[in-house]
Amino acid sequence: MTLELKDVCYSFVNEKKERNQVVAGLNLTVCQGEFVSMIGKSGTGKSTILRLITGLLHPEKGTISVNGKSVELGDVGYMPQRDLLLPWRTIIDNIMIAGEVQKGLTITKEKARGWLDRVGLLEYENALPKELSGGMRQRAAFVRTLLTGKEILLLDEPFGALDALTKKEMQTWLLSIWQELDQTVLFITHDLEEAVYMSDRIVLLSSNRSLEEISVDLPRPRTKEMQHSTELVRQRQELEKKIAYDYG
């Protein structure tokens, strides 16, 4: 599944009819099986781009296509920035929701429990979202997205609320799934190390709405050890310098 954005523009219009152009002439391609991270300053429009790709927002101009076909709602798996767990459902019922609304998808309770176990939430399967900590909620939302079973995943800061260790576990786990299922991933993060470790390519969104691509030079598969490799640290530092220059 190849994701392609061509000349996409989008503006929010507020009550007073003031336009806030958030996406301006964006071109981006994420190829089949590619893992691309998007980084950029807060408020530059990363989340908006994901919402455009899902089909929730419609571009003013330009086209967004999956495998050459115009994108439609339900084509991609989307994890929003806020966890958005339904407060009246238990965790297990929350993560199984895709099975209830997606045609042809059945998620067995065993499968859901297995995945919960994988993110360390099995003992909370029957808890309500408000009984969970912030990071636990985020993990639940992450699992919910994975269970949609889509080949394209759009993840909006999926590990932002996780501690260093849990985050790393999640990272390797996500990579293994990605590789196994040959998914296409567009991943928003603020953690540069994470961006480097996970991605084939990093796209950097500047405040002036322009986009720069940086390819990551680390071999696949990325092992656990690589999380601490000097090569990773070096690339991360390079990225940091670039950002300091670019963001301005």
């Binding site: 439609e72 709602l73 339900g74 989307y78 929003p80 958005l84 209830e100 609304v101």
Partner: protein
């Protein structure tokens, strides 16, 4: 048993106050300060209920409850149905909301011949009044509740390719529940009153008929006997809806 005890404890104050009020009324009436044909002595009301309990309960209460039951069921089904249709279709909203509204601004008794003409003296004229009175709170409660869904959740569902029907079932419906229950609590009480008012349009049984009839004879004990029964039933019904509400919105209080 434990529930009853808990209930008694939490409503002890009310029960005590009610007893005091009844006692004061008893005294006032016995002293002749208020004539007994306007407000009867509570003790006499109890006697009136006691000495008449068979027809009161088996004929009148059961007649009223039947009207109430049918009417309220129709209201709940029809009211939520209408609210849901209005939620999904702006056309239906713009068409039906004013119509429902008009139905609410008409004093029913002024229309009694029309009701009789349409429904005759069957149970349906009383059911119609019950529906007319209890329909609106359900429509407003459900409709406002459905509209209160957080857009971010809607986006999440739509991103999964959820159909309207799923959105409704899994998201709008649970979101609307609190507001729906507010409407339902108002409606269930109105429906009971509706049944009694319906009986004034022509009936030969029912607590509303009974109370009006007694009132025509200035028999205030009889009137208050019916009122007392109605109040008790009303409170039980309300309590029942409140219980349901607590049950369905349990996640809020955990």
């Amino acid at each position: 048993m434990i529930m009853v005890k808990k209930w008694l404890q939490s409503y002890a104050l009310f029960t005590a106050s009610a007893c005091i009020v009844l006692l004061v009324v008893e005294l006032i009436v016995r002293q002749g300060i208020v004539p007994a044909y306007i407000i009867p002595a509570p003790s006499n009301v109890v006697i009136a209920i006691y000495s008449n309990w068979k027809p009161l309960i088996f004929i009148h209460l059961s007649a009223t409850m039947l009207e109430f039951g049918i009417g309220f069921t129709i209201s709940v089904i029809g009211g939520t149905g209408l609210a849901v249709s209005m939620f999904f279709s702006k056309t239906i909203e713009k068409l039906m909301y004013p119509a429902v509204l008009i139905s609410q601004t008409i004093p029913i008794i002024a229309l009694s011949p029309i009701f009789v003409l349409w429904f005759g003296y069957t149970i349906w004229s009383k059911v119609a009044v019950t529906v007319l009175i209890s329909f609106f709170p359900i429509v407003v409660g459900t409709f406002d509740g459905l509209r209160s869904t957080d857009k971010e959740y809607v986006e999440l569902f739509r991103s999964m390719g959820a159909k309207k029907q799923h959105l409704f079932q899994k998201l709008h419906f649970p979101t609307a529940l609190p507001s729906f229950f507010s409407g339902l609590k108002i409606a269930i009480v109105s429906a009971l009153i509706g049944a009694t008012i319906g009986e004034w349009l022509g009936a030969s049984e029912g607590l509303g008929y009974y109370s009006r009839r007694m009132s025509g004879d200035l028999n205030s004990e009889g009137v208050f006997a019916a009122i007392t029964l109605l109040s008790i039933v009303g409170m039980i019904l309300f309590g029942f809806v409140s219980l349901l509400e607590r049950r369905f919105l349990k996640w809020k209080n955990v």
